[in-house]
């Protein structure tokens, strides 16, 4: 099984796309970090000198979720688009093992994207806190939880991408669906209809980060958000498996 995961990771890292997506993800994180540091304390932005502001700051490490989604999508749709799925299944005819390996590879990609974002967050947060005269001891258990949430959410979105890709098989369609979901539907629902939004993957991630909901009703408790993320991952993994295992490859 480890060799299959290695093969899937090789697929990811032998194309340039992954570096482009990582760069975009870090770019979004950087914008968020700088904005929150600069606006700290102004116009309702929690100051970075308090625990809430610090949590918000570190949660920026996970703003590039959609790029992890894209990598997960490509890992499946690329196989259909470039017709390499035949080779994949010739080497490993037990397809459930291929799907399992792809899921694991998505988790690794999520980990990588998450850790890269977190590293960047530290790089910006430490000087920002020092400049604002805040104590670095603010970076504590809270931040650890946010970081775990970022990694989990990144992995979840990569897996979500894999599932949508397995379902649609068409690369463009899958990416449009993903971007539309994350940037339009989910962000609107999470912001304007939090009673629904808090049950969505994006809302669950916010719950784990422990950031406050800007519009009332609030997110689930952190453990609830984490459980919800795991639940979604399981559902998406099942979708990816069921749609891949029986299909005729012609």
């Amino acid at each position: 099984m480890t060799r299959l995961v290695r093969a899937e990771l090789l697929k990811v890292f032998t194309t340039r796309m992954v570096w482009g997506m990582l760069a975009l993800s870090l770019g979004f994180t950087a914008i968020g970090l700088v904005a929150l540091s600069v606006l700290s304390g102004a116009q309702g932005v929690p100051a970075v000198t308090g625990p809430e502001g610090v949590r918000n700051l570190f949660s920026q490490a996970g703003t590039g979720l959609v790029f992890a989604f894209v990598i997960g999508t490509l890992l499946m749709t690329g196989e259909y688009r470039f017709q390499t799925i035949t080779y994949t299944f010739l080497v490993t005819p037990r397809r459930e093992r291929v799907v399992a390996a792809k899921l694991a590879a998505c988790a690794v990609v999520g980990l990588l994207f998450g850790l890269a974002g977190i590293a960047l967050a530290f790089a910006v947060a430490i000087p920002a806190l020092l400049i604002r005269g805040a104590s670095l001891s603010l970076i504590g258990g809270d931040v650890a939880r946010v970081c775990a949430g970022v990694v989990g959410a990144m992995a979840l979105y990569a897996i979500l991408g894999l599932a949508v890709g397995s379902l649609l098989r068409n690369q463009v369609a899958a990416i449009v669906v993903g971007v539309g979901w994350v940037y339009v539907l989910e962000s609107i629902l999470v912001a304007l209809l939090p009673s629904v939004g808090k049950w969505l993957p994006g809302g669950a991630a916010q719950a784990v980060y422990g950031v406050s909901s800007p519009f009332g009703s609030g997110y689930l408790p952190a453990w609830g958000g984490a459980a919800l993320l795991v639940g979604y991952a399981a559902v998406f993994a099942a979708v990816a498996s069921l749609t891949t295992i029986r299909r005729d490859i012609t």
Binding site: R3, L4, R6, A7, L10, K11, T14, T15, R16, M17, G78, F82, Q83, T84, T86, Y87, T88, F89, L90, V91, T92, P93, R94, R246, D248, I249, T250
Partner: protein, 316 residues
């Protein structure tokens, strides 16, 4: 146990019966041509054999087992299939490295097989810049990674130039003769494989039309023995007495049906006629193939197997 065994295989896609009760075997050390016009069901058969398509009924076995049940499939079976391709952004070598990693083969196999198919020079080039023929060679390299003893090739000559086709023929014969491999190769052009194959299976509209050795198949196109020379008319009586029918398409030429060339030669010797020509006339293979795979709606196909073997004048 035959290397490849297909038993009463059937598969429909919706209303289309792509493969209908097909059965044949391929033995080690032989090359079998799987021939049929476009849409005949060749690819569907081969993909069923490789566990990519689930048959509705019947079995397709390699080394006596279903492909999915093989412990190390790429080490037993190598395949080059239609409708497969490569990620354009990945290098030739990286494609093979991915497959080696998944199959648990040493990465050195990537370099070795690229050398075998003549792609060593472009190993580190992105596939985006590859010609169709280079992709076909890369596909062949993927099939060779695990040094399999069974090879399944779906129209492998597509996109190859004449030199490439020549090379492929030699390579397939080498695999069968020197390595003892069982090779199953599909084509919709008989002429493409006639110099390579030992056995032929012909399929049209999903149904098997013929099965036999290449020699048996070509004898089906037998159009008699053509004999030429001044005074060949003197052979007529003797040949007709031997039960042959004789035509004379032009002066000094006879076309003899129903007698082998030896009988005609003996008649010439007996009559002391000097011959300038004595050949078994054959319709060209393409014509035989066209006849056998006549468009649906035509006459029903002749019975499978046996029919050819039992025909008079089987080729030597």
């Amino acid at each position: 146990m035959p290397a490849i065994e297909i038993r009463n295989l059937s598969k429909s896609f919706g209303a289309v019966r792509a493969v209908d009760d097909v059965s044949f075997t391929v033995e080690a050390g032989t090359v079998t041509g799987y021939l049929g016009p476009n849409g005949a069901g060749k690819t569907t058969t081969l993909r069923s054999l490789l566990g990519l398509v689930a048959p509705d009924s019947g079995e397709a076995l390699v080394n006596g087992r279903r492909y999915a049940d093989l412990a190390r499939p790429v080490c037993e079976v190598g395949a080059v299939l239609e409708a497969t391709n490569f990620h354009p952004g990945r290098t030739a070598r990286d494609h093979l490295r991915v497959l080696c990693a998944a199959a648990g083969l040493p990465e050195a196999r990537a370099e070795q097989t690229l050398g075998q198919v003549g792609l060593a020079d472009v190993a580190r080039k992105r596939v985006a810049g590859f010609s169709l023929g280079m992709r076909q060679r890369l596909a062949l390299a993927t099939a060779l990674l695990g040094e399999p003893r069974i090879l399944i090739l779906d129209e492998p000559a597509n996109g190859l130039d004449p030199g490439g086709i020549q090379w492929l023929r030699g390579f397939l014969r080498f695999l069968a003769d020197d390595q003892g491999c069982a090779v199953l190769v599909s084509s919709h052009v008989l002429a493409e494989v006639e110099q390579t194959v030992d056995d032929v299976v012909i399929i049209a509209g999903g149904r098997m039309v013929r099965e036999g050795t290449l020699a048996e198949l070509t004898s089906a196109g037998d159009r008699g023995v053509r004999v030429a020379g001044a005074g060949v008319e003197r052979l007529r009586a003797r040949l007709e007495a031997a039960g042959a029918t004789v035509e004379s398409p032009q002066d000094g030429v006879l076309l003899v049906h129903g007698a082998p060339p030896e009988t005609v030669g003996q008649a010439a010797l007996d009559e002391r006629v000097v011959l300038s020509e004595l050949v078994r006339e054959r319709s060209d293979l393409e014509a035989v193939f066209m006849e056998l795979t006549a468009a649906p709606g035509g006459p029903p196909p002749p019975p499978v197997a046996g029919a050819v073997t039992g025909a008079p004048g089987s080729a030597s």
